[in-house]
Amino acid sequence: MNDLIDSDIHVTWTDPKVFTDYLPKVWQDRFFHGCGHSQRGFALSQPFYNPLAVDQPEGCSQPDELLGFMDRHGIEKSILTNWRAPAVGNFGDHDYPARLAEAFNRWLTEHWLSRSARFFGTIVVTPRHPAMAAAEIRRAAAASPQVVQVSLSPGTLEPYGKPQFRPIFEAAVECGLSICLHAGAEGVGVSNPPSSHGWPRNILEYRVCPMTNFIAHLTSMMTEGVFTDFPDLKLAGFEVGGALPLITYLWRFDKNYKALRSECPWMRELPSALVRKHVRLGTQSSAIGEESLYFRLLESFRADEILLWTSNYPRWDQIDPSTDPHLLRGAPWRRELVARETALAFYPRLS
C-alpha cells in the first residue's frame, strides 16, 4: 500500500538538447555552447568538489524508473525538482535566466508531470526580477495542476523579507503554490558569500551554510511581516538540516520577540507560532546524533507537525524509507503526519 509522500525527489535530463524545444532561438547558443569558461546549461560552478557525488546521479532521468522506486517503497506521490535549477536566480542577466527558468518549468511539466498523476512539480523562477518571476508562476501554475511549489534560490543579495519580493509571494498564494528554499545555490553566482564570515574553505564548513541561510531568510520574512501580508503563504526548507537547528534557534528568536516586538508590529505572533502555521522542513538532511535525545527535543516541539518526509532520491545522500527513524518512531510521534498528512495539508494541489 502506497501511503508515503516524498516531498523532495530530483529529476534530470539525459540530453540537454531537450531544451531546444523550450528555449528561444536567441538564447540557444549561450545555453548549448556557453559563454566561455564552461558556462553551459544550468551550471553555475559549485565552490567545492563533493567526492561522494561524483559517480552518483544528478537526478532520476526516466519516469518509469522513478515509478518503480516509488512502488518499491510505498510512495504514492512525489514532488520533483532539480537541485541545480534554482541557481537560475543567481545568473547575472535577467531575460536569459528568466527564459531558462521557463524552459526548465516547461520541461518538468511536459516530460514528467504529464507522465503520471503521481508526479508533482517544483518550478523555478528568477527572484531578483520579481515581476518576471510572478508572471512565470502564474503561467506555470495554469499550465499544470500538478505544479505545487516554487523554488527560490537561497543565494541572494537581499533576504526574502524585503519588500521587493512581495509580487512573488502574491503570485504563489494566488495560484495555491508554496514557496521553498532548497540548499545548493548559497554563495553561487550573483550572491552574498554563503556565510557571514565570507568564504568557507572546506566542504564541511560550506555544508553548514544552508541551515544558517534558511534561518536568515526565515527571520527576515517573519520580522518584515510577509506572513501577515500573506496569511496563506507556505514556506518549505529542503536540505537545510531538518527541524532540530530551527527548534534551537526558536529558543532564541521567540525570546527576542517578547522583548523586541515593538520593532515589528506587523509580526503579530511568536516566531514558533508562525513556524507551525507556515513553515515545513524536509527530513532527509537531519543529523540524528543520538536518537532518543533527538526525538525528545522534536517531540517537545511537536515537530511531527512541521516535517515533510523526503528521500532526496536518487542523490548521493538519499534516505531509505525502510530504515528512516522518522518513519519508524512510535507514539507519541505521529508517523502518519510526517509520512503524508502534513504534506497533504501543506500542498493543497497534492490531493
Partner: protein, 155 residues
Amino acid sequence: MSPQRHIVCPVSELLPGQRKIVQVGRKSIGVFNVGGEFYALLNHCPHQHAPLCLGPLTGTTEIGEDGRISHAREGEIIRCPWHGWEFDIKSGRSIFNPHRVRTASYAVKVAPLCGGDAMTPPGSEDSDPGVETFPVSVEDAYVILILRREGNQDR
C-alpha cells in the same frame, strides 16, 4: 479575605504621567496615574523577576491607517527595565501575549480619608496609624491602593 486598603499619597502628589512605587508588606507595587485614572501593578516582571515598574513609561507601536509603523498609546505601557517586555498598565497584560502573560494588577481608588477608617500607610504596618479625619474635598483626596487580586492566578 477582605481587601486591605493602603494609602499611597495625596492625589496632588501623583499627577498624570507620574508613578510611585510603594512597599506593602513583602509586595512592591507601582501605582500610576494614566490620564487622570489610577492603576497599580505588581513591581515584578513574570520573566526574570525584574523590578517592572522602574522601566520606561511609554507607548507602543502599531500599524497606522497608511500601513506604516506609528507610535500609539503613549503613557499606557510600562516596559520591563531589563528585557523590555511591554505591559498594558491598565490591565497588567503583556502586549506580546495578552492571554497568557501578565503581571498582577490591583485596584486603586481616590477617596478622602474618613474618621473610623482603619488603614495602613504603606511601610508602616507596625505603627499605630491612628484615626484622622480630613475634610472631604477633591484637593484633599488620597490615592488608595486596594489589595485584592484582580484577574486570576497568583504569580
